[in-house]
Symmetry: D2
Subunit: 93 residues, 4 copies
């Protein structure tokens, strides 16, 4: 269950399976736009439930109907398998 | 109900009554630290209810137990009375 | 802005425009079923935002993926125009 | 990790350690009253995070500033150790 740091090659391969995600400043990054603040905030709430259950938390940025999520793993000082898992769960929402 | 842009003098006076808030990059800014992710996220949820009711929304940044809030008013291209009101409501939470 | 108590005839006409709502025990009632607890709870959160903005709150019942909402207006001891408005907002979600 | 049905004696002993909880209609039951709807709803949100993490969900009833929680375990047709654990987590909030 310990996170494992991914190599650049592993990250590139994983992102190929994760539509809309890219690496920005060393973090897995995706931007979202919704119809309203309430839609944006309740989307973040769904991500928060998934994150709390994994015990692995994202960086959230929100203003009005826009949300930006950055994923990285502090313990490995980089992107790990947990970030890929959470990104996949977010795409499945 | 239209927002009114505040002068630097008005902002300085308002902040004097708003413990923990300061101006950063032209926005009203305050940072918060909680005991857990769930405490941080449900605090944001309370702010979200207040903001939606005012129809005036903050910029949220969250990672784990930390929250940063920035307040500005797009329509006046600066800090308005609405930002002061929302900051006061947040301090009252 | 004061709520107005509706007659039985007005309620019958209003419900005709509100798919899935009926009167149960003198309250506007609708049951919902979702794919998961998280979907059910974040649906309630959206309703909660709408209700708080109207300053008119529903009765919520939730267990796992099921939600039941009852609407009534304490101040008029019956169903009011506010209940119809909130039911319409919920259907629009 | 499978839930274990508790005997009446075990339930009585467990409740002695759980201030404010009692058995009503065969379920662990506690009522709460808050200062506002937003306080009540965000309290439910905290409980929802704990429940989703345990994969064990309560029955929620909410109207305005009041919340009632009932805990039971469908799989054992009664009150289990999971209900006691969740009641304890709720009291710790």
């Amino acid at each position: 269950m310990n996170p494992q740091k991914l190599t650049d090659k592993q990250i590139t391969e994983a992102i190929a399976q994760l539509p809309e995600w890219k690496v920005v400043n060393g973090k897995l990054n995706r931007a979202f736009k919704f119809d309203s603040f309430v839609e944006a905030f309740t989307f973040m709430t769904k991500v928060a439930f998934a994150a709390e259950k994994m015990v692995h938390h994202p960086e959230f940025f929100n203003v009005y109907n826009r949300v930006v999520i950055d994923l990285t793993t502090h313990d490995v000082d980089g992107i790990s398998n947990l970030d890929i898992d959470l990104a996949q769960k977010i795409n499945d929402l």
